[in-house]
């Protein structure tokens, strides 16, 4: 029993040391991206103008950086929101779920499917008082090609020190459901935004 106790405490010490390196930012320190300036065009996505946002609307633990932009994609005008979280909202490894935020605002989800791409972004249709919107949302981790906490995500994290970074960005595109871009242009926009963000962190 003594040797078992010794082994278990040794495992705890090693795990604690590993955790100390990761949580202390010694294995992959977060890099805060500049979300202030965007090019006029990102792949198929046209960036039109910045939308002012009240700081209080971002909640008690707001993102460290954010951008709220009016955009146009495949002829449809909509909004792009990008939020960068260094640590503050990662109680469960991710920021607040977008669909929960919309539900809290009175939107009811009518349809949802995942787009067939590396990030597997969600496309959801919400309705409220006769109004309907389409929201495409996903999470970006630096150097990790998946938003899932599955084996693939873990393998990507173990594959490079950058994968241990704890920071994350939450992005969503919102369009009026009537005339919203199809899945194809949305995927192209997601890819373009991913590449743009990769250059910034």
């Amino acid at each position: 029993m003594r040797s078992l106790c010794f082994l278990s405490w040794s495992a705890f010490a090693l795990a604690g040391l590993f955790s100390l390196l990761v949580e202390g930012g010694l294995l992959g320190a977060p890099v805060t991206p500049d979300l202030g300036a965007w090019p006029a065009r990102l792949g198929p996505l046209e960036v039109l103008e910045e939308i002012p946002i009240e700081p209080g609307a971002l909640g008690e633990t707001p993102p460290e950086r954010h951008a709220f932009l009016r955009v146009r994609l495949a002829g449809a005008e909509g909004k792009l929101f990008a939020a960068y979280y260094e640590r503050a909202q990662r109680w469960s490894g991710r920021p607040h779920d977008v669909e929960r935020c919309y539900a809290a605002l009175g939107w009811e989800e009518r349809e949802a499917h995942q787009l067939d791409e590396a990030h597997r972004p969600w496309s959801r249709r919400f309705e409220r008082e006769g109004e309907a919107i389409r929201v495409v949302h996903w999470l970006e981790h630096p150097g990790v090609d998946s938003d899932a906490l599955g084996w693939r995500g873990l393998a990507a994290r173990l594959g490079s020190a950058r994968g241990f970074r704890q920071d994350v960005a939450a992005l969503y595109l919102e369009f009026p459901a009537e005339g919203a871009p199809a899945d194809g242009p949305c995927l192209d926009a997601v890819t373009a935004l991913e590449h743009e963000l990769e250059t910034r962190w």
Partner: protein
């Protein structure tokens, strides 16, 4: 200080040093979020329970059980998985798990039993996972809103609730997510667990008490939203902002705590009556 005590203190200090970034983040996040600030109370409440248990007589230190390695390994697993997945709550779980292992190491299984209420309460420093809260929140918001509308209907038959917005007497009050009631629910839940440990309730009675924090939260949060609407309607928007809003929120939690104390008084009084009747 004797040699074993010194060793125990050094081991505890080393363990805390390894977990220091987690403890720091826990403190910063719990301080910043009104929904999670209840967690700051937990160590103090656990200490009260531990202090009370400490003075309840001696116990035999029985070492060699499986508790120590089992909980130490569980703490190690929580640390590794939490760091790999970036799930902070999972990594933080290592702290109470390691404390149970450390208690078993130095005080034996008898010590773990003795301090069980405080050790169990310490697990409440780990906030419920966000995905779980995200699923509870919409229900809490809807139920709190429905309660508020029920309370306000006698004053305005057209009062209604949509999403998180209350319509009352021609104007709209959008209730912030922080006021969804999840913070009140967690705070009252921790108070229930503390009272159950303090009054040494039986497990079933303790479970009933902790479960009662849910309907109680719906009631007091509904009253909070309805009273905010009445205050705004009578005195204007400024009267329900800033300090006044915070004071109203605190008063609601205190009212809930007082109701809980009454419930505990009833639950803990029952066995005494039985004993008296038997005598």
């Amino acid at each position: 200080m004797s040699a074993p005590r010194t060793r125990a203190a050094v081991e505890a200090a080393l363990g805390l040093a390894l977990l220091a970034p987690l403890v720091r983040e826990w403190f910063e996040t719990a301080s910043a979020s009104s929904r999670l600030s209840y967690a700051l109370l937990v160590p103090a409440l656990a200490l009260v329970l531990a202090w009370r248990a400490r003075g309840a007589g001696a116990w035999a230190v029985e070492r060699g059980g499986g508790l120590e390695p089992a909980f130490a390994l569980a703490a190690a697993a929580a640390l590794v998985l939490g760091a790999l997945t970036g799930v902070f709550t999972l990594a933080l779980l290592a702290l109470p798990l390691a404390l149970v292992a450390w208690t078993a190491r130095w005080l034996g299984s008898g010590g773990v039993r003795r301090f069980a209420p405080s050790l169990v309460l310490l697990f409440a420093i780990v906030p419920p996972p966000m995905p779980l809260l995200d699923r509870v929140n919409p229900f809490l918001i809807q139920a709190s809103g429905a309660t508020a509308v029920t309370l306000l209907r006698p004053l305005d038959g057209g009062a209604s609730w949509l999403g998180s917005t209350l319509a009352y007497r021609g104007w709209e009050l959008r209730v912030a997510e922080a006021c969804s009631g999840s913070g009140t629910f967690l705070c009252l839940g921790v108070l229930c667990a503390f009272l159950a440990g303090l009054f040494r309730l039986r497990p079933l009675a303790a479970l009933v008490l902790v479960a009662s924090s849910f309907p109680l939260t719906l009631l007091v949060n509904g009253v909070r939203i309805a009273s905010s609407a009445l205050v705004i309607d009578r005195f204007g928007v400024e009267a329900a902002q800033g300090l006044a809003h915070e004071l109203l929120g605190q008063a609601v939690v205190l009212a809930g705590a007082a109701l809980l104390a009454l419930a505990v008084e009833r639950l803990s009084a029952r066995p005494v009556r039985t004993t008296e009747a038997a005598a």
